[in-house]
């Protein structure tokens, strides 16, 4: 199958990006250097094409009921204009996908899902929606382009282009506004651990909006950033990636995502019974972060050992550009998930020492405080 192009395909070509087929989309992996792009986001500001992300609109009188039942987090906690990180589970409690739930109103939600899972998510949600006569599920993935602006300078950069005061836009909130002549949705979200914003815009408007941000970005040392740095940035924050840390045979409790699971919410949700049982009996495996203390880089799929026993596999691993240390994540038996536990990674036949680390590898600088309302 020929991979799809985002609305920014010509832009990437003009910038000389190295492209690759990422789950059926031609995406930039890097423009100049993954390390430079990573650094730009940590220190200044970076711009990402994330138009491959899937968007699903859920609307109708029962929109709230459907979203509440198919996702793990409690949608009743959301107000209009707020966003929630959540997960879609199958009946076995496994993660079909992780996603962001945007609440426009109780009758209208926007779900932002992984590109690799968008088609599967859509058919799963459409099947569940059969039980809700007054709800409509619409795939709007090809209507919206998506641009992400991430880094400490993202607010001043974007503020120079938008009429809406961004200082008042809290973390995981969104608003509808304009850039130039184009209507956009802008949210204070991201996948880097830095302050940042994500913009949904009309597919055809995407190149002009990208260009406007690039031009304004010169004074902020803005750099275009590819998927390579997107991956190292999220790994430093220990954010899970579906297909690596998350999968249909892994529950959110195993993945350390109990904070997005509301076991007590009214009406329950798909997969709840399995999670409840796991909570009572304990999980069979736990996702841990680790730092390689010996020489070498742990990579996806490498065996994790404790003593002579293989106890798990690396789900993601890389040299952290910020820390200059090899870091990674792996599933291990729960008794080995304690901070400081010594593990060994089988790196091409050599057992290289690693230590279990709690929390993110690099401190998050997202704007968590809620701004005062005026």
């Amino acid at each position: 199958m020929t991979p799809k192009n985002t609305p920014l395909a010509d832009t990437h070509k003009a910038l000389g990006a190295k492209m690759l087929d990422f789950h059926g989309w031609m995406m930039p992996i890097q423009y100049t250097s993954i390390l430079e792009e990573h650094k730009a986001v940590r220190e200044k500001v970076g711009i990402f094409d994330v138009s491959h992300m899937g968007e699903i609109e859920i609307k109708g009188e029962q929109a709230f009921d459907l979203v509440q039942y198919i996702t793990t987090n409690d949608v009743s906690l959301l107000e209009e204009g707020e966003i929630q990180y959540s997960a879609l589970l199958n009946e076995k409690g496994g993660v079909i996908d992780d996603l962001l739930v945007y609440m426009v109103s109780r009758k209208r939600f926007l779900l932002c899902v992984n590109a690799s899972n968008a088609a599967k998510d859509l058919s799963w949600i459409a099947d569940q929606a059969l039980r809700y006569p007054d709800v409509e599920v619409v795939n709007i993935s090809r209507r919206f382009g998506m641009i992400s602006i991430q880094g400490p300078k993202s607010e001043p950069l974007l503020q120079a282009l938008l009429p809406t005061p961004l200082a008042k836009l809290g973390y995981y909130r969104f608003c509808i506004t304009t850039v130039g002549e184009s209507n956009i949705i802008v949210s204070r979200t991201g996948y880097t651990g830095e302050d940042g914003f994500e913009i949904f815009c009309e597919w055809r408007d995407t190149p002009a909006i990208w260009e406007a941000i690039m031009v304004k970005g010169r004074q902020f040392s803005l750099k275009p950033v590819g998927l390579g740095a997107r991956d190292t940035l999220r790994l430093e924050m220990r954010y899970a990636l579906h297909g690596q840390e998350l999968a249909e045979n892994i529950t959110p409790l195993e993945a350390g995502l109990s904070w997005i699971v509301s076991l007590d919410k009214k009406g329950g949700f798909i997969g709840r019974d399995v999670l409840l049982k796991q909570k009572e009996e304990g999980v069979p495996q736990k996702l841990v972060g680790f730092e390689v203390t010996g020489r070498g880089i742990a990579r996806t799929g490498y065996d994790v050992c404790h003593g002579d026993e293989i106890v798990g596999k690396v789900t993601s691993g890389a040299m952290s550009p910020s820390l200059k240390k090899a870091i990674g994540m792996a599933y291990v038996k729960p008794e080995l998930a304690m901070e400081g536990t010594e593990l060994f990674i089988d790196i091409r036949g050599k057992k290289v020492a690693a230590l279990v680390r709690r929390g993110s590898f690099v401190e998050s600088r997202v704007k968590k405080e809620v701004p005062a309302t005026t």
């Binding site: 992996i29 993954i34 390579g228 190292t232 020489r295 880089i297 990579r299 550009p321």
Partner: protein, 126 residues
């Protein structure tokens, strides 16, 4: 892209500089550019015996792990220790400071099967 005339090349994008019976080995400008930022180089122990095509180490970029293959038969007599702390030297100076190993050849006639610069350039163009 730079491919010095005086070097010999392999299809695995390594270069060799022959100095008597010593072969200095590294990766080409093309290889380092394809790999991107190099963040780790694993070198063999001095004294390791290598046959043509043996994997003797790896070069890792942020995203990829690439094996290094011996272009010649012989024994490793020196490795570039500076790459432990500065693997990026392979990016910045692939043909000089970014050399990886020196091999004492056991059969210098093997160099005849390596590519000259013209052959290598046509390989890279494909």
């Amino acid at each position: 892209m730079n491919f010095p005339e005086k070097l010999l090349y392999t299809k695995d994008h390594e270069w060799t500089l022959i100095e008597g019976d010593i072969a200095v080995v590294g990766i080409t400008d093309f290889a380092q550019s394809e790999l991107g930022d190099i963040v780790f180089v694993e070198t063999p122990e001095v004294g390791t015996k290598l046959n043509v095509g043996d994997s003797f180490g790896v070069v890792e970029s942020v995203k990829t792990v690439s094996d290094l293959y011996s272009p010649l038969t012989g024994e490793v007599v020196e490795v570039n220790e500076a790459l432990v702390d500065a693997p990026e030297t392979v990016n910045t100076s692939p043909y000089a400071d970014g050399w990886i190993v020196k091999i004492k050849m056991s059969d210098t006639s093997e160099t005849e099967s390596l590519m000259n610069v013209a052959d290598y350039k046509s390989l890279v163009k494909k």
